[in-house]
Every structure is written in C-alpha cells, then in structure tokens.
Amino acid sequence: MKREELMVAAIQNGTVIDHIPSSRLFEVVRLLHLEDIRQSSIMVGYNLKSRKMGHKSIIKISDKFFTDAELNLLSVVAPNVTLCIIKDFEVVEKKRVTLPQTIAGIVKCANPKCITNNEPMPTRFVVSQEDPIMLRCEYCEKEQSLEKVKLV
C-alpha cells in the first residue's frame, strides 16, 4: 500500500477492495450491504489517482471477511476489482472475482414487459456469452449486455 492509498488509513485486519471504477463505487457498497455494517469501521477513497485506471475508488473494511459468493457478486458491476485480505497489517491473500454462471436476485431485467418487473419476485440471469459478456433473463429470455445492467 503506497501512494494515494495512504490517504485511506491502513487497517489491521479485514478486507480491501481495490480498483473499483469510481462510477460503480456506490453499487459495490450496496451489493455488499456495507451500509448495514454496524460493528466495523469502513474507509472509502473516492476518485483516487491510479496509474492503471486514471481514477479509481477503494474500500477498506475492518474486521470483516466476506464469502467468495458474496464477493463474486461484485463481478456484475466491477469485474476487475482486486481483493486483499489483511491480517496484522499484512496482505495474506489477494484474489480476483469471478462471474457466477447464474446471477440471482441482484440484476434488474431491462425489458419492461418482463414478469420480473411486474411481480414481487427475484430475477435470475444466466451468462449466455463471454466477451462481451451477455446475460440472458431466465424468464423473458431477452439478452442484455453486462455493461448496461442495473441493480434491482
């Protein structure tokens, strides 16, 4: 951890989510339900300079570790984030997120005539194409590009 990240205080134990596109920061917060965390301190750096991305955002969550399933949800909005698991101020594990084959309950279908937009029910998508990634709604069967999807 150096350069601008130092502006966001280091944590002793917890999870760091780095290389978040700034435009997606608040969606990452929502997906991990960070607003509901009461016990841990959370540091957010928004619009930091980044050599790789121009601008990026970073979140550091103290004393909190997520399951892979929870973290993989991030792939829907920020597929290139870097995750660091911190123990005693040291990075003990680095990982990337992978897109699950089925995405349930988090993405909104773009088709206004889809049943999922007209009935209180969870959505469900499957990955129908890689590069560019396309999702197919399991209900109305319409394909939509991952870049344009909105969260429910």
Binding site: K113, C114, I115, T116, N118, E119, E138, C140, K142
Partner: protein
C-alpha cells in the same frame, strides 16, 4: 420438460419429446373423443384475450372428458384489484389439475411453472413463447409431408417480430431443415436467429423477392402477416405491402405436396382464391391445434394413450 411436467417453451424439447407428442396427436386425430380425463379439472387462465387459442384448448379438454374452469378476460379477476400472479396461480392450483395460461407479460409462464404445484401449459406469454402453436405447426408439417426431416421450409412476411417463425426455427433444429427467409428489409430475420442457424449448421437463404419461381422448390410455405404498425418508414410499407401476398397464380409451379401454412388470423396476405387451391392447408392446420393440445394436456398429466 421440467418443472413438474409443465410446458413453457419448445426450445428445450428433444427430438424424442417432439416425436412422442406428434405420435400422441396422431392417435387423438383418429379418435378425438376419449373420456380419459373425466376425473380432472383443467383451468384456462387468459390474462389476455385470445379466443382462438382458448376455444382450441377448451375443446381439447372437453373432448377428453375434463371439466374446465377459468376466465377469458382478466377484468373480471382479482388481478384488477392488484392481486399478484403468484397468488392467482396458488389459488387456482387448489382447484385444478393443470393450468393453461395466456399472459401479456414475457416470462410469466416460466414463473407460474416454478411456483405452481400443478403443471402449467404456456398458451402464450407476451412476445416470448407460444409452444402449443409451434407443436401444431410441427404436427401439420409432419402430417402433410409424412416426415419432419430434410424439408425446405419457406418463411414469408414479418420475420422480425413473428414469434411463431422464431419458435419454428428452434423446434426444427433436430430435423435437418433448409430455411428460406422471404421478407422486406425492415422485417428481415433478426441476426440472433441467423446465428442460431449458423451455429447448428442449418442452411438458410434470404430473399426479398416473392414470386412463383422463388417458391417452386418449397415443401412448406409458412405465411405471416406484414403489419403496418411494424414499419417506422411508411413509404417502405406502401412499397412492400402488396409484395408479400400469396395468390393462387403463384402456385402453378409448386411441388404437388407443398402446403401453405398460416398461424391465423389472416388479413390479406393470402388472397381468397388460394383457399380453394389444394395447396391451402391453414384451416386444417388450425384444427390440428386441437389434437396437438389434447396430446399436450395428457402429457403434462403423465397420461399416454
């Protein structure tokens, strides 16, 4: 077929599933009146009016001896009071052994099939799927040609929005067809279905012309309606509106076994002089819907005749 034997889409039926249903339909055609469902109740839930499909389903159920409950117009139901689809399905499944549902929202049939304790038959969900129409189309092709294999199938008219032609392509993938897509540019077959064919080595030819020479090699001529409201450019509509009309004079070089199909209702895309031509088959095609739906209702209930 999954989700408690429901029929939601034709896309996941295997060749064997389709042939089984067609052979069942053949038996119902030979003997349509069988009281094998006299202890069953069939619910027909039409959240969107569709007289033709509803009458066909209700006749199928009645000829099998089943009792029919349901509604033909959602205005009389609690959905106008804000009841969810789930609640309606859960309520009706207390009474019926199978639910036939037409809905104006896409994906409604899959959702109903997932939550319903009794099987659901999709009688059309918005612009998405209408598998019983596809099955009656397949039955009509099978019956008139004696096979589904290696046929030249010509799809004419609105290939962009025509749900029936899209489902037909997917269902025919097991049978080595050759397709001809005949449509104006604005209503041409969408890329995704051309890619679907390419990925499965299904040959197809695209044409804009529609005349006697073009269709001389056809086994099946599947007509659809070119609707004015589908055009963004009305000049274009005026230019093509009379191009995709089938007249009896165009059938002079057609194969003797060739049949003209149409999902109905027809407006003007088939001239009335075709009705008396031996190639015309669209009214018999509609009757085949009865046998196809008898086969489907029995199949969802696990009954083989």
């Amino acid at each position: 077929m999954k989700e408690n034997n429901s029929l939601v889409t034709i896309a996941n039926l295997s060749r064997e599933d389709i042939m089984h249903l067609l052979h069942q339909a053949e038996k119902f055609e030979r003997e349509p009146n069988r009281t094998i469902l006299s202890d069953k109740v069939v619910a027909t839930l039409f959240f969107e009016p569709s007289t033709r499909t509803r009458l066909s389903f209700e006749t199928a159920a009645n000829r099998l001896g089943a009792r029919v409950i349901g509604f033909t117009d959602p205005k009389v139901t609690s959905s106008t009071k804000g009841e969810t689809l789930k609640d309606t399905i859960m309520m009706v499944s207390n009474y019926a052994d199978v639910i036939v549902m037409r809905h104006y929202l896409e994906g409604a049939a899959r959702y109903a099939a997932e939550i319903s304790p009794v099987p659901v038959i999709n009688a059309g969900d918005g612009a998405n799927q209408h598998p019983t129409q596809t099955l009656l189309d397949l039955y009509s092709i099978y019956k008139t040609q004696g096979t589904l294999d290696n046929l030249h199938i010509y799809l004419v008219g609105d290939l962009k929005y025509g749900r029936t032609v899209h489902s037909l392509i997917m269902a025919m993938r097991h049978f080595n067809p050759t397709f001809h897509f005949i449509a104006p540019k604005e209503l041409a077959m969408p890329e995704e279905y051309k890619i679907y064919c390419q990925n499965r080595n299904i040959p197809f030819v695209e044409e804009e012309e529609f005349n006697a020479d073009i269709i001389a090699n056809a086994d099946i001529l599947y007509m659809t309606r070119v609707q004015r409201e589908r055009f963004t450019d009305l000049m274009e509509y005026e230019r093509v509106k009379d191009v995709y009309i089938l007249k009896a004079s165009m059938l002079k070089d057609a194969k003797p076994t060739m049949k003209v199909l149409h999902p109905l209702p027809r407006v003007n895309e088939i001239a009335y002089d075709v009705d008396d031509d031996p190639h015309a088959y669209y009214f018999q095609q509609a009757r085949n819907g009865l046998y196809a739906r008898q086969a489907i209702i029995c199949n969802t209930l696990g009954i083989t005749v």
